[in-house]
Symmetry: C2
């Protein structure tokens, strides 16, 4: 049901390296939708081995291409990453910047409403607003 990072990479045909494993593991256990630099900082500090900026970017590209993670675009100029690859969307709390996952099932299916003219392969919905804290 729920895969380890190692199983997931293998399943998706990504060769195992310690850098790829540790980046994937980090993304799987955070809900923070971190940027590449945040990933570098977080992973580098808990690692004995070195980890270069280029490797973080290379690895993120590899993982996105393999479908292991997704890019999240919610603000200008920064790309964030999300290990949740189930179909889902995002809610941005505009005060804190916190990004919360919104499962596909919470929304009506709008994939089909566009009709023949548009062959929709995927879509993302990004909500902006205030997250009601007491119902966290």
């Amino acid at each position: 049901m729920s895969f380890t990072a190692k199983e997931l990479l293998t399943k998706r045909g990504v060769k195992l390296t310690s850098q790829r494993l540790v980046i994937t593991e980090y993304l799987m256990q955070t809900y923070e939708h971190p940027t590449a630099d945040e990933i570098l900082a977080a992973v580098a500090e808990k690692l004995p081995m070195a980890l270069s900026r280029a490797t973080v970017y290379n690895t993120l590209k590899t993982l996105v291409d393999a479908g292991v993670i997704r890019e999240v675009l919610t603000e200008p100029g920064r790309t964030r990453y999300d290990a949740n690859t189930s179909e889902h969307h995002h809610f941005v709390d505009v005060k804190s910047g916190r990004i919360v996952d919104i499962p596909q099932e919470m929304l009506p299916d709008i994939q089909k409403v566009l009709g023949d003219k548009y062959n929709v392969k995927s879509y993302t919905v990004t909500f902006y607003g205030d997250l009601n804290e007491d119902s966290k």
Copy 2:
């Protein structure tokens, strides 16, 4: 019904300058969702006066803050701009990169479905897929 750039800026409390006018006019007559650099290139070439990069960025920020234009985030690392401020969404043709406006009315209203926990102020839907060319 349909405003001139000058009327729109005045209505929104943005002081008139020739740079602001010409950038707003350019955005109002294109459907290309251009980046800041594309705006600079397009506007600079048809202008007698100079126009600096900083002014383009300053002006775009001013116009976004005043609600005259919107930012469009469809791809990593590049911010695009759209003078269509009616509630609408975007379809990205993944082959050509062309971005097409999708009016709010084409979609079910998903503003309300999230319930009390989320106070949605705005949302954007971005579709990715193939645009069927013969029905253009």
